[in-house]
């Protein structure tokens, strides 16, 4: 069926009621923000958000629509460069998930309550430290003061 379109159509708008909690827009306040751990160390950038119905219904089992409330369950980070350039999205297995329950604060950065070393999202950094940087002479200790 061919869709009908006659150009942009402005709909009449009503004032938005005041909401009972803090309001966040995904692109304005969350996506592409830096994620910091409890010590303020960078963890990753926030690439996407995992959404799930509050009744536990998942998109795999059943279609989600406006009839059921949806909440953020995880912050996602992963290999999105290719999909942002060419379209599509990474497979679900490639995402690293940071549970919403770990989020402490949302400001210019998203702050977590856990250390980055405990997160799967930083495995590549740890692997590089242990297998590459650590094998360079002098690479396994802090630099000494030159006096």
């Amino acid at each position: 069926m061919r869709r009908t379109r006659t150009g942009p159509r402005d709909v009449s708008r009503e004032p938005e009621p005041r909401q009972p909690g803090r309001v966040l827009d995904a692109r304005l306040h969350l996506l592409d923000r830096q994620v910091l751990d409890v010590d303020g160390m960078p963890v990753c950038t926030l690439d996407d958000l995992e959404l799930e119905a509050v009744d536990g219904r998942s998109a795999v089992d059943e279609r989600i629509d406006g009839s059921v409330p949806v909440v953020i369950t995880d912050l996602l980070t992963g290999p999105v460069l290719g999909t942002r350039v060419f379209g599509g999205r990474p497979p679900a297995s490639r995402w690293h998930r940071l549970p919403w329950a770990h989020v402490v604060d949302i400001g210019t950065a998203v702050r977590l309550s856990v250390r980055s070393g405990d997160l799967d999202a930083t495995w590549l950094e740890r692997w590089t430290r242990d297998h590459i940087i650590g094998r360079i002479p002098g690479g396994n200790h802090d630099p000494e003061s030159s006096g």
Partner: protein, 119 residues
Amino acid sequence: MIASDLLDVPVHDEAGAHLGWVVDLRFVLDGAPDTFLARARLHALVVSPRTRTSFMGFERSSVRHPWPVAPILRWWHRGTFLVHWPDVARVPDPDAGAGPEDTAAIVLRAEFTAYEPGL
């Protein structure tokens, strides 16, 4: 479902008329307390009738500067509106791939209400 499944998706009314594209998702932290923050409930979709994306949200804020960037972007995104999540009747299947445009659109209920998008 992830946020990217909803962002940039065309929005149609029940009759199939094109209304715009989802340029952002609005969440409200009013759910049950989840350790540190309340759960973030998907409250609404921000729909722009003219553009597929939004730049820095000038159409949703009271920021008027820098001139002329803010007025131009505000004019470019004129007509942007908010649709509450319960007014969404159908969401495209993210695993269906690129299909006919009618099935790859978010469809709103017949009696949906458009709201001002201001933050």
